[in-house]
């Protein structure tokens, strides 16, 4: 194994070594990266939060206002062309389930169900003409999370921490806060590192569980260990490892493993502290809606319960970002099972989207405000996404079918032009208004990489004879949403 190869696989501890510093060591960067962590040009941001609504959130009931649907509500839908629905989604036009109103100085129309986002709407750049490739959840989710519609490719966060490395020594560079009730389509593949080294995969964190990270501490099976024997173990392991290393000089892996035990011990101290929100002041808990959590919840889906869990993830995310975690992925919604605790509202948009959307809006609005007041928003990108949108027609009742033909994403924070609406959808929210020029996931990915100082065409890894990149062979930076 060459030194380069070794560093690629084993260097840099929790986040892995940054490609940037590898290139610099090898003299392969034309000039040293400007500022902190840029790979190809000076970055505008250095952290990312990816918010993923599992099950497909309805753009037309949340962010993309379609008065035409109110006018035509209940009339037979007519798309003017053959439409392939995933299920039986070509019922009558269905008006937005909630009323819309203007918010902020920009007067952006938002659904009342996401009204908490009104106070930060002037920070946000909406993209209303995002186009998917498939109405099948699994493929569409993978496309958003990895840029490919089949398994086997690194997630967006993995590429970013592979390219930029970690900005802390105590926590993983890429952390994932899944829905506490289960994983979305494809499970861990949505934060997997695939052919990139394992340390670039997302590390799962459940704030409510003990321990919050798997195997952080010995569990019930470690009762035979006293606190003293636990703390004596790692130093002894490494004293013996150093003896073993003598006579095996020049094998960097042996040193790396010694170092990794030291880092593990540091993480044991840092991780519990990072998820402990009990030290947060009352006004912050209030901001996130975490000040008055009921002791029990009804069986039906409800807003207080959704808020208690989702907002907690947002608050923990802020604490992770503060501590130098580079990429945080937050999930809302589990697998697409029943009863619905996900955005796949085939049956009843109001019932299921309602509590999920209110909790999402509350938590995300608080996160944006909180980051801003700490000066972190200016170099943190927040990306809101989902696998596809939902149809402007009903499924005969109160639900909507899949719409991969158009949906919305939004971004805010480092380098994003605040208060922007870009790329309109058509009058129904059925397809992009300009069908020849939709926004694709590749463009969103390219834009995020661009803001991080990465040229998406140049961050490549050769896997099995092909130079792979996050954006496959596509992608254009969306200049219109850049500050």
């Amino acid at each position: 194994m060459s030194r380069r190869d070794f560093l690629f696989r084993s260097g840099g501890g929790l986040g892995g070594i940054a490609l940037a510093s590898l290139l610099q060591q090898d003299g392969l960067l034309a000039s040293p990266p400007a500022g902190e962590g840029g790979l190809h040009h000076p970055p505008k941001a250095k952290r990312v939060v990816q918010l993923f609504m599992a099950g497909a959130a309805s753009h037309i009931d949340l962010f993309d206002f379609k008065p035409e649907l109110i006018k035509r509500h209940g009339q037979p839908s007519d798309f003017g062309e053959h439409v392939e629905a995933f299920q039986d989604g070509l019922g009558p036009w269905l008006r937005p389930v909630w009323d819309f109103a203007p918010y902020g100085e920009t007067g952006k129309m938002l659904s009342e169900v996401v009204s908490p986002l009104g106070s930060v709407v002037d920070e946000i750049a909406f993209i209303h003409n995002v186009q998917g490739k498939s109405g099948v959840h699994s493929q569409a989710t993978l496309l958003q999370s990895t840029g490919f519609d089949r398994p086997g490719f690194p997630s967006m966060g993995s590429w970013i921490v592979y390219g930029l490395g970690s900005i802390n020594d105590n926590l993983p560079a890429y952390m994932v806060l899944p829905d506490h009730r289960g994983l979305a389509s494809n499970g861990m593949k949505n934060w997997g590192s695939a052919f990139l080294p394992t340390q670039h995969q997302g590390t799962v964190l459940y704030p409510q569980r003990d321990p919050p990270i798997a195997d952080l501490f010995p569990g019930q099976h470690g009762d035979f260990l006293s606190t003293e024997s636990r703390s004596a173990a790692v130093p002894l392991v490494n004293r013996l490892n150093r003896l073993h290393r003598e006579g095996r000089a020049g094998d960097d892996r042996l040193d790396a493993r010694i170092k990794s035990y030291e880092l593990a011990a540091r993480m044991q101290l840092s991780a519990p502290e990072a998820v402990d929100v009990s030290q947060e002041p009352a006004h912050i808990l209030r901001l996130y809606g975490l000040d008055d959590i009921p002791s029990s919840f009804p069986d039906e889906i409800n807003t207080p319960e959704e808020t208690a869990y989702f907002s907690k993830r947002c608050l923990v995310a802020r604490r992770l970002l503060e501590r130098g975690v580079r990429f945080v992925q937050i999930w809302s919604g589990n697998d697409n099972g029943f009863p619905r605790r996900n955005w796949d509202s085939h049956e009843d948009v109001r019932r299921d989207h309602g509590p999920l959307a209110q909790a999402m809006a509350r938590g995300v609005s608080a996160l944006i405000q909180d980051l801003k007041q700490r000066g972190l928003l200016e170099d943190t990108i927040i990306l809101w996404t989902t696998e596809f949108g939902r149809m402007p027609s009903s499924q005969g009742g109160k639900g909507r079918d899949h719409n991969p033909y158009v949906f919305s994403n939004w971004l805010c924070g480092g380098g994003i032009k605040p208060g922007t609406t870009y790329g309109p959808s058509d009058q129904w929210g059925y397809k992009p208004l300009d069908r020849a020029h939709p926004t694709q996931v590749y463009d969103v990915h390219a834009t995020v990489l661009h803001l991080l100082g990465i040229d998406h065409q140049r961050l490549t890894v050769r896997d099995n004879g092909i130079d792979r990149r996050l954006t496959d062979v596509h992608g254009h930076v969306i200049d219109d949403i850049l500050a």
């Binding site: 030194r3 929790l14 392939e84 995933f86 039986d88 490739k133 498939s134 109405g135 099948v136 699994s138 493929q139 989710t141 519609d149 089949r150 398994p151 086997g152 993983p172 994983l183 389509s185 494809n186 499970g187 861990m188 593949k189 997997g192 695939a194 080294p197 394992t198 340390q199 798997a214 195997d215 569990g219 099976h221 470690g222 035979f224 260990l225 004596a232 173990a233 002894l236 392991v237 013996l240 490892n241 006579g247 000089a249 020049g250 892996r253 493993r257 990794s260 035990y261 880092l263 593990a264 697998d335 099972g337 009863p339 049956e347 009843d348 005969g396 009742g397 050769r462 099995n464 004879g465």
Partner: protein
């Protein structure tokens, strides 16, 4: 250090000598190599892209579609030079590839300027990439005596040659203690026991090593170790992956087949053939069926198949991806070729065309992934085969009749079908379908549902309404029981005074569609009305009871059941469609719709009668009935076993497969840019044309899809196929040395690495092929070689002590490409886990059978949650070797994932071995390590009551050696302070435990 840096660069030398070469020599030695290397792949007589071929002077000077490209003596007019001139780092030609070097461009320019001399008789052949060249047995390289003396096998001669050429000397032979640990992990994946180590170290016999090798190759654990390598490559998993990630309970027979094949040392050609076409080529054997698990090993989009028909775009995409996975698995596994690029365009770097790629898709065009039945008893297997053949021909006949119907029925029929579909799928059906029982595996389960009228009521009549659900194309009457009864009672338990109102339990009752059913009750009084299905309705290989609505009318004509509480034996409760309360919500499939549907059906039947005549329709009925009989006969064969395999699928509803057409392959077309909506020319089964083995299969008109697979198998295992043999010996080498002779084991194409020892690779490949393809022969050859038996330490030079001059290898070849020492190996996830179990004395050596599950499944009915944290590591069933672990795709096992086990969602030709803190946490704190630390301690205590002896034994069991005094002191101190289990945990975390010298 890569091989490319060592290889001489010829082009540069020639190009600077342009001026001194004669005109013809300039062409032969300067121009021709450039054309061969960069142009001829596309511009040859056969596939002259843009109309241009550069194979002969005649064609070259004639030019292409854009006219002449070479004007002798006139560089300004010669378009060729413009095409290859780079701008901003890329040039028009070679298309999509790196531009020619400046030297190469100057050579072409000089040649044109000098008059473009090209001897008329000189025809150029495209330069074959190293791996595409014919495979021949190289001669052994000559060596000086001292180097020759080091060699133990022919392999060593090639290695010694490479070392000598670079001034390197080999390392000393490792000691026996090191060798036995190396051999054990390498050949069987387990640590040697302390007894085995001491026996071998003290064995006075000279051939003790060879004996040990034979012993380990004969061990059944050998197959377990090497099958795991194979399963990495073929991306074997036991769930589908994608959405829902359902389990595949019958995947494991393929895993056992692979283990058995390695243990039996099955000839490689047969091993390959079985996995592509075992059912055709080895029809009497279970191996021939189980091997087809290969084709189905990878992920599969359940939703894209089971919920989206092939007629929809998403359905087409899912099936395209499915075949793509099969094709990539074949080409990647057996050929070490990446062919995926060719689904959108001809491969940019390797001679693989879209035609080649879709030709391979066409081989598998009849297949899907499904459980396939087979029988251990050859007599029954034969019977099974005959029945399946009959099923196939009957299905084909029905298929033919259906096409005739479609053709004769024309637009009128299509129109009627469309109207019918519109009615059947119409949105006016309420989404609240009704009550739906849990799913049963057989029809003769009783299920009941009942309504509580709230008090004793005189009942005039009971009306009940069947459901409509298009699931599995059932439609009207969905879930309506085949036999049932209706009873009245005064208590919810129906414990006494039960009155029978309707009894249809004695014979099968024809499905009523959605016609409402009425039963008069003649003013009997009761509080509870219960419907019990005594024979359930078929759904999709399973059985249910569903009902849309139950209405109970009193003498005033009021429906007293409306909105009343409903109870049932069980219910799937999947709102909004299915829930108990839907039974009394007043919603049921409406009769107007039903009438319309019936009318349309009658019109269609009349049309069919006119179109194809009564006789054909009658024949269709006969064939259908016989087909039903054949299917029933297949079902009733005793002791069927199942393997999840690539197979013809006899499905219904959305996921039909090709069974209904008798396994007729789907039409495969070249897809423009891989887009299923832009099909081009149809393609017949074939393989990669540029490998020099006939790749168009020339199948006869009546050939079956099995014949196409057999042809592909024959093509893969053809003696002259240069990739098959090179690919596999490189893999074997890689698993012994940690790195292949070609370091990109999955890509032998132009983007892959060059071989470090090309002649050695060819020698191994040709030897393996010509001696019958025995894995064990090659293992023996490799592990008995001097190169394998070297020390892994850097300082242990075998020659330095003899006063020979050797370059410092740490600067000359720090990556050890030339194998001047053995590579130290980091153990893989499975070896780490198995070693933990083994040293703790808990490893259960039982072989084969269904996989153990080290997780608890929650919510199996929709998207199973695989909860590893709920598994009890003390569960003895999970103490088997890691190859028997149930491999989930979407939620991989955390401990194994931290240790870099193969990701079953992608082909893993080489493990990505990392070192990181999450691994350390897993090794320290995972339930397995903690539990096994205590068992390890128990085992140590059983060995001896002497404390020092206990420490010695524990250290020996884990590392293969006794501790030094210093180490023993450290261990003793920890034991005294923290106890033996804590000490055992420390030992399992040592570097020495997870590295092999």
């Amino acid at each position: 250090m890569t091989f490319a840096a060592i290889a001489p660069v010829l082009v540069g030398v020639l190009a600077t000598a342009n001026t001194v070469l004669g005109d013809e020599a300039l062409f032969r030695e300067g121009v021709a190599p450039v054309l061969r290397r960069h142009c001829l792949d596309c511009h040859n007589d056969e596939s002259s892209k843009g109309g241009l071929s550069l194979q002969s002077a005649e064609r070259a000077f004639a030019g292409g579609e854009s006219g002449e490209v070479i004007f002798p003596g006139d560089t300004d007019s010669s378009y060729l030079l413009d095409l290859i001139a780079p701008e901003d780092g890329s040039a028009e030609m070679p298309k999509g590839k790196e531009p020619l070097s400046e030297q190469e461009r100057r050579t072409l320019r000089d040649w044109i300027e000098e008059g473009a001399e090209w001897p008329a008789e000189l025809r150029l052949e495209p330069e074959a990439w190293w791996s595409f060249r014919p495979l021949e047995l190289p001669v052994l390289p000559p060596l000086p005596d001292d180097r020759a003396a080091w060699c133990r096998t022919p392999i060593d001669r090639f290695i010694a040659r490479g070392q000598m050429e670079h001034g390197l000397a080999p390392a000393k032979e490792a000691d026996r203690r090191t060798l036995i640990r190396r051999l054990y992990f390498d050949l069987i994946g387990l640590p040697p026991s302390p007894e085995a180590i001491e026996r071998f170290v003290n064995d006075p016999r000279r051939d003790a090593y060879d004996e040990l090798v034979d012993e380990l190759l004969a061990s059944p654990h050998y197959g377990e170790r090497w099958a795991r390598h194979w399963l990495d490559v073929v991306h074997y998993g036991e769930t589908h992956g994608y959405d829902k990630d359902k389990p595949r309970p019958n995947a494991w027979p393929y895993r056992d087949y692979v283990i058995r094949s390695f243990n039996e040392d099955k000839p490689y050609a047969q091993f390959v053939e079985e996995q592509i076409a075992g059912d055709v080529l080895y029809p009497e054997s279970s191996d021939g069926i189980e091997a087809l698990g290969f084709l189905a090993a990878g992920p599969w989009d359940f939703i894209g198949h089971a919920e989206v028909p092939e007629t929809k775009i998403d359905g087409k995409i899912a099936r395209h991806l499915d075949r793509d996975d099969m094709v990539q698995n074949v080409a990647g596994t057996f050929l070490s070729l990446t062919v995926g690029c060719a689904q959108c365009h001809d491969h940019k770097f390797d001679p693989i065309t879209q035609q080649d790629y879709y030709g391979m898709q066409a081989v598998f065009a009849a297949l899907d992934r499904a459980d396939r039945a087979y029988f251990d008893d050859p007599a029954i297997e034969r019977q099974h085969r005959l029945l399946v053949a009959r099923r196939q021909s009957l299905s084909a006949e029905i298929g033919a009749i259906e096409s005739l119907v479609e053709e004769r029925g024309g637009e009128a029929l299509a129109d009627l079908e469309q109207q019918l579909q519109a009615v059947q799928e119409g949105p006016s059906r309420s989404p609240e379908y009704g009550y739906h029982s849990q799913i049963a595996s057989s029809a003769d389960n009783e299920k009941w549902v009942q309504v509580d009228l709230g008090g004793e009521t005189a009942i005039d009549r009971v009306e009940y309404f069947p459901c409509h659900d298009d699931f599995n194309e059932i439609g009207a009457g969905f879930g309506f029981p085949v036999r049932y009864k209706i009873e009245l009672a005064d208590d919810a338990g129906f414990s006494e005074n039960v009155r029978l109102l309707v009894d249809r339990t004695q014979e099968d009752f024809a499905n009523p569609g959605i016609t409402p059913q009425v039963a008069s009750a003649a003013a009997q009084a009761a509080q509870f009305v219960r419907i019990t299905a005594t024979k359930l309705a078929p759904r999709q290989g399973d059985y249910i009871f569903a009902l849309a609505e139950l209405q109970v009318f009193d003498s005033h004509g009021n429906n007293v059941a409306a909105g009343q509480p409903v109870a049932a034996l069980d219910s799937i409760e999947q709102p909004v469609r299915w829930r108990k309360s839907n039974l009394v919500d007043g919603l049921y499939p409406d009769a107007h719709h039903n009438r319309r549907e019936q009318e349309l059906q009658e019109q269609r039947d009349a049309l069919l009668e006119r179109a194809v005549g009564h006789e054909t329709l009658a024949r269709r009925e006969v064939v259908r009935r016989e087909l039903d009989d054949v299917m029933a006969a297949i079902e009733s064969l005793p002791n069927a076993r199942h393997v999840y395999a690539g197979t013809i699928h006899f499905g219904s509803g959305t996921f039909q497969g090709t069974g209904a057409t008798g396994g007729k392959p789907r039409m495969i077309s070249i897809l423009h840019r891989g887009d299923v909506q832009r099909p081009g020319d149809a393609v017949s089964p074939g393989a990669v044309a540029s490998l020099g083995v006939a790749s168009r299969f020339d199948l006869s008109a009546d050939a079956t899809e099995g014949d196409a697979r057999a042809a592909l198998a024959g093509w893969l295992t053809h003696r002259e196929n240069p990739l098959t043999w090179r690919s596999i010996v490189n893999r074997i080498w890689q698993y012994h040395f940690g790195r292949g002779l070609v370091d990109t084991p999955g890509d032998f194409g132009r983007m892959g690495e060059l071989p470090s020892h090309p002649e050695l690779l060819d020698w191994l490949a040709a030897t393996f092929r010509d001696a019958g393809g025995s894995f064990k022969d090659i293992h023996r050859l490799i592990v008995t070689s001097a190169v394998y038996r070297q020390s892994s330490a850097r300082a242990d030079s075998a020659f330095a002590t003899q006063g020979q001059v050797a370059d410092d290898p740490t600067t000359n070849d720090s990556g050890n490409r030339l194998l001047w020492r053995m590579n130290r190996r980091q153990l893989e996830a499975e070896a780490v886990r198995d070693a933990i179990l083994a040293v703790s004395g808990k490893l259960d050596p039982a072989m084969g059978g269904p996989s153990f599950q080290d997780f608890v499944i929650e919510k199996p009915e929709h998207s199973p949650h695989y909860r590893y944290s709920l598994h009890d590591p003390e569960d003895r069933r999970s103490h088997r070797r890691s190859i028997y672990r149930f491999v989930v795709r979407s939620q991989t096992q955390p401990f194994m994932t931290a240790m870099d086990c193969a990701d079953p969602s992608m082909m893993v030709h080489k493990r990505n071995q990392t070192i990181n803190p999450l691994q350390s946490l897993a090794m320290l704190n995972n339930g397995l390590t903690l539990v096994m630390s205590q068992h390890f301690a128990d085992r140590v205590r059983e060995q001896s009551s002497d404390l020092d002896e206990q420490i010695r034994f524990a250290f020996l069991a884990a590392t293969g050696r006794r501790p030094t005094v210093e180490e023993a002191n450290e261990l003793r101190a920890h034991r005294a302070a923290h106890g033996l289990p804590s000490l055992c945990r420390v030992i399992l975390n040592l570097n020495e435990f997870v590295f092999v010298d």
